[in-house]
C-alpha cells in the first residue's frame, strides 16, 4: 500500500508539503463557504451601487451589462479573498504573517493550498466537473438534433447558447486545463525531483479562478442567450443580449487561471530540477508541458485583450469590428490564438503517449530527441497556420502559405507518432487500460490528422467549411486525442495519485465502450457533413434526420460511458486494491516518492544519474547526494529489447 493511503484521516498537519504555516482547528469551515458568501455580498452590493446609483438606465433595470460586469469583478475578488486570498496573499503582501489553517482531511481541497499535489487534484476535479457540464450541454444539443425541426429548445438562440457553452467550457476549462493545470501541477514537481512548484502561491490562487469561469459561462443564459459559439465573433456578439457578457468574463477567469499555471510550471521546469536532471534527461511530459506553457504565455494574453475589446463593445458600447475596423479584424486576431489553442490541448497528449508507452512495454523510448523536436516544432508551427480557418474570407494568393504550413505541421506531428510506433515495435506491451487508451488516442488523432491534411487543401476546405465534416475533424483531433490520453493518464497515474489500483476489467470494458461510441458519433459526422449537414443549425433537411437520430443515440452512450468511467475512478479511489509504490516499474521520479497531499515529496533531494527512458539499462537512475558511490534503486525496471 502506498504510504499515504493509510494516513490518519482526521490529523492536522504541522507542515504542508510546500511549507505553508498551519494551525490546528477541528471546527474549521472550509473557506470555500466564506468565498461564496463574500462573492454573493460583493455582487449584490456592487450591482446595486452601479445599476441603482451610478449608472441608472431607462426603466430602471436591476441588472445591466455595465452593472453585472462590475458586480462580477467584485464577486471574483470576494471569492478569491474568501477562499484564502486574504490570509495567504493580501495580508502577507502588506507584511502580516501568513497564518493559514490546513486540516489534513477533505477540507484541504476546499481552500487555497500551497501543496502542488492538492492544487493538481483541485484542478483535476474542477476540470472534470467542467467536462460533465459541457457534456450535458452536448447531450441537449444531440437531443435537439434527433429531429429535423426545433423541438427540444424553445428557440434557435437557446440551441446556439448550448453550443457556445459546450464549446467554451470544453476548450477553456477542460481541454486547456486537465493535462496542464491538473496533471501538470501534480506531477511536474514530482517528476523533477522537487518538493514544490516555483511559485506555490500563484498556483494556489490560479485554481480557484477555474470554477468561477465555469460557473459564469454555464449560467450565462440567465442574462440572455448568445449565438456566437466559443469564438464570440464580433460584431455578432455585440448584437446578442447580455449573456455574452458572462461569456467574456468567464473566459477571462479561465484563461487567467491557465496563464498563471503556465508561468508557474515554466519557472518550475527551469529552476526546480533535481541535481543531474539536465535538459537531455527531463521527462517527456515536462517537455510537453514546457512547450504548451510557452504557447499559453504567448497566446492567452492575446485573446484576453481581444475579448476585453469585445466586452467594451458590449458595455460602453464601442463600435469596434463593425464601424471601426471590420469583422475580419476580429477573426484575424481571434484565430491567431484559436489555432495554437488546438496544440495547447493536444501537445500534452503527445507527451503522455511518450511517457506511458515505454513504461507499459518496458522498452526504451524510440528516438527521444526526435520526440522532443516534434513537440517543440509543433509549438513553433502552430502560430503559422491560423488563417486556414478563414479560407472563405481570403484571396487564393493568401491561402497558399497557410495551406503549406498547415500541411507542414503534420511533419513534427508525425515525429510524435513515429516515436510512439518505434517504441511499440517488437515491444511486449502490457494490455492494461493506459496502453489501450493511448492506442485509442493515437487512432483518433490519426483520423483527425488525415482529415486535417485534407482540410489544409483550400479546394476541400471551401467545400467542407462550416459543415459537420469540420466538427468531426476537430473532435477527432483535439477531443479524441486529448480526452483518451487524459483517461490513459488517469489510469496510469491513479496508483500515484491515491495509492490504489483501478479494476482492469472495468477500465478496459469502459474504454472500449467510449471508443466505439466516440467513433460511431464523430465518424458519422464526416458523412453527415459530406451529405450537407451544416453547423450552427438546429433545423436541417429532413433527409438527414435518420442519421442524426442514430448519431444522437451513440452520443448518449458516449456520455454514459464517460459517466461510468467517472464512477469507476471515484469508487476505486476509495475502494481499489492497494497498488504499491511503483506498480508499472516506471523510472521517472514521481514513482520514486510515495508522498501524498500534505507530505514532503523528497525528504532528501535526489540526484539523477541518467535518463529515464532506457529500459535496456538496469542501473539505477538515482543517487543520494553526498553518499559517495552509494546509489538508490532505479525503479525496478525489467529490461526489454533496446532501440537506442
Amino acid at each position: 500500500m502506498s504510504s499515504h493511503v493509510g494516513n490518519a484521516k482526521r490529523q492536522f498537519v504541522t507542515s504542508g508539503g510546500s511549507g505553508e504555516a498551519v494551525l490546528p482547528d477541528r471546527r474549521m469551515t472550509p473557506p470555500v463557504v466564506r468565498g461564496i458568501l463574500w462573492a454573493a455580498i460583493a455582487f449584490i452590493l456592487v450591482n446595486t451601487l452601479v445599476s441603482q446609483v451610478l449608472d441608472r438606465q431607462a426603466y430602471d433595470p436591476f441588472i445591466t451589462k455595465v452593472s453585472v460586469t462590475f458586480a462580477w469583478t467584485a464577486a471574483l475578488c470576494g471569492w478569491l479573498l474568501g477562499v484564502g486570498g486574504w490570509e495567504m496573499l493580501v495580508k502577507p503582501h502588506f507584511g502580516y504573517p501568513l497564518v493559514w489553517r490546513t486540516p489534513a482531511d477533505w477540507r484541504r481541497y476546499f481552500m487555497l493550498s500551497l501543496d502542488h499535489k492538492v492544487v493538481g487534484i483541485q484542478y483535476l476535479a474542477t476540470s472534470a466537473a467542467g467536462l460533465f457540464i459541457a457534456g450535458f450541454a452536448a447531450m441537449m444539443m444531440r437531443a435537439e438534433l434527433m429531429q429535423a425541426r426545433l423541438w427540444f429548445f424553445p428557440n434557435m438562440s437557446a440551441y446556439l447558447s448550448a453550443v457556445g457553452i459546450h464549446g467554451t467550457i470544453m476548450m477553456f476549462a477542460f481541454g486547456t486545463v486537465v493535462l496542464v493545470g491538473g496533471f501538470g501541477n501534480y506531477l511536474i514537481p514530482l517528476m523533477l525531483g522537487a518538493n514544490g512548484s516555483a511559485f506555490p502561491r500563484v498556483s494556489a490562487i490560479s485554481v480557484w479562478l477555474l470554477p468561477v469561469g465555469i460557473a459564469t459561462v454555464a449560467l450565462s443564459p440567465l442574462l440572455g442567450m448568445w449565438t456566437t459559439g466559443w469564438r464570440a465573433y464580433a460584431p455578432l456578439s455585440g448584437q446578442d443580449p447580455s449573456g455574452i457578457v458572462f461569456y467574456y468574463l468567464g473566459v477571462f477567469a479561465m484563461t487567467v487561471s491557465s496563464l498563471l499555471v503556465a508561468v508557474n510550471l515554466t519557472a518550475t521546469i527551469i529552476f526546480k530540477r533535481a541535481a543531474g536532471l539536465t535538459w537531455n534527461r527531463i521527462p517527456m511530459y515536462a517537455w510537453g508541458i514546457l512547450a504548451v506553457s510557452l504557447l499559453n504565455i504567448i497566446w492567452l494574453p492575446e485573446i484576453q485583450m481581444t475579448f476585453i475589446l469585445s466586452l467594451l463593445n458590449n458595455i460602453v458600447p464601442f463600435p469596434l469590428f463593425s464601424q471601426v475596423g471590420t469583422p475580419l479584424t476580429y477573426m484575424e486576431i481571434f484565430w491567431l490564438f484559436g489555432h495554437p489553442e488546438v496544440y495547447i490541448i493536444v501537445v500534452p497528449a503527445f507527451a503522455i503517449w511518450q511517457e506511458i508507452l515505454p513504461v507499459m512495454g518496458q522498452k526504451t523510448l524510440f528516438a527521444r530527441q526526435w520526440g522532443v523536436l516534434g513537440l517543440v516544432f509543433v509549438m513553433l508551427f502552430s502560430g503559422l497556420v491560423w488563417a486556414h480557418h478563414m479560407f472563405t474570407n481570403m484571396r487564393n494568393s493568401q491561402m497558399l502559405p497557410f495551406s503549406f504550413f498547415t500541411e507542414m505541421i503534420s511533419i513534427p506531428t508525425g515525429f510524435a507518432y513515429l516515436v510512439a510506433l518505434g517504441t511499440m515495435w517488437k515491444a511486449r506491451m502490457r494490455p492494461k487500460a493506459p496502453t489501450v487508451l493511448v492506442l485509442m488516442s493515437m487512432f483518433n488523432f490519426l483520423i483527425g490528422g488525415v482529415t486535417g491534411v485534407l482540410l489544409a487543401d483550400p479546394v476541400i476546405n471551401l467545400q467542407a467549411h462550416d459543415t459537420f465534416f469540420i466538427v468531426g475533424h476537430f473532435h477527432y483531433t483535439i477531443i479524441g486525442a486529448m480526452l483518451f490520453s487524459a483517461l490513459a493518464a488517469v489510469y496510469y497515474w491513479m496508483p500515484r495519485l491515491c495509492g490504489r489500483m483501478y479494476s482492469e476489467t472495468w477500465a478496459n470494458l469502459l474504454s472500449v465502450w467510449v471508443f466505439i461510441a466516440f467513433n460511431a458519433v464523430f465518424g458519422q459526422f464526416f458523412l453527415l457533413g459530406l451529405r450537407g449537414m451544416n453547423r450552427w443549425v438546429p433545423v436541417y433537411p429532413a433527409y438527414l434526420q435518420n442519421m442524426n437520430f442514430e448519431v444522437s443515440i451513440f452520443a448518449f452512450l458516449l456520455g454514459i460511458g464517460f459517466l461510468l468511467h467517472l464512477i469507476h475512478v471515484v469508487w476505486m479511489w476509495n475502494h481499489g486494491e492497494p497498488a504499491g509504490t511503483n506498480p508499472w516499474q516506471g523510472k521517472t521520479l514521481e514513482w520514486h516518492s510515495a508522498s501524498g497531499p500534505g507530505q514532503t515529496n523528497f525528504a532528501v533531494a535526489p540526484i539523477v544519474l541518467r535518463g529515464f527512458y532506457n529500459y535496456a539499462d538496469r542501473r539505477p537512475v538515482l543517487a543520494s547526494r553526498g553518499a559517495g558511490e552509494r546509489e538508490a534503486t532505479g525503479g525496478g525496471a525489467t529490461p526489454g529489447p533496446t532501440a537506442e
Binding site: 503582501h93 502580516y96 504573517p97 527551469i270 494574453p301 485583450m305 471601426v324 479584424t329 486576431i333 532528501v604
Partner: protein, 204 residues
Amino acid sequence: MTRSLAQVKVRQKPVPSSPAAGPSPAVLDRRDYAQHQFGLMLFMVTQGIPYFVLINMRFMVAGAYVPPHLDVWFGALLPTILLWIGAAFAWRGALALRNDRTRQCARDLARTEVVGAVGLVALMAPFWRHSFDPIGRFGTVYLSSLGVASFYTLVALAVVLGAAFRTRRGLVTRLAPWGARSAAAVWTFNAASWLVLYIVFYSI
C-alpha cells in the same frame, strides 16, 4: 526509495517560521533570486502582449491618424513624466537598501505612490474630458488603451504600496531586497508600457 535517501545530508529550505514567531525577511539564495527574477520577467512578457495587441489595433483601425486638438498633457505627457518620476523614486529606494537605508527605501516607495496616484488621475482624465470622438476610429482604441494603462497603473500602485508596508515592517532589507526591487521593476514595466503607447498614439 525515499527512505533509502533519508540519511543523506542535503541542501534543504528552512522550515517556514511558525505563525507565532511573526514574519521574517525572505532572504533568497542566488538560485531562488534568479527564479524570482525569471518569474517576474515571464509575467511581464505575458502582460506586454496585450499592449502589443493594442498597438496593432491602433494601426489596423485608425492608421496613423491623430486628432488635431488632442490634449498633449492629460492622458499623454503628464502621466508619462509622473510615471517615470515614480520609477526613479522606486529604483532609488530599492538601491538605498544596498547601504542598509531601509527608511529611505520606504520613503521613496511612498513618494512613488504619491506621484503615481497623481499620474493615474492624469492618465484617466480624458475619460471625462476629451476633444475627439470617443467612438470614432482613434477614440475607441485610445480610450481602450487608456483603460488598460490605468488598470496596470492601479496594479503597480498596489504592488509598490505592499512593498512600502513590508519595508516599514522590516521585511525588506539589505539582505532581502527582492520586495523593493520587484516593485520597482513592476513600476518600470508599467511606465515603459505607457511610454510606448504614448509614442504610438501621439507621435507615430
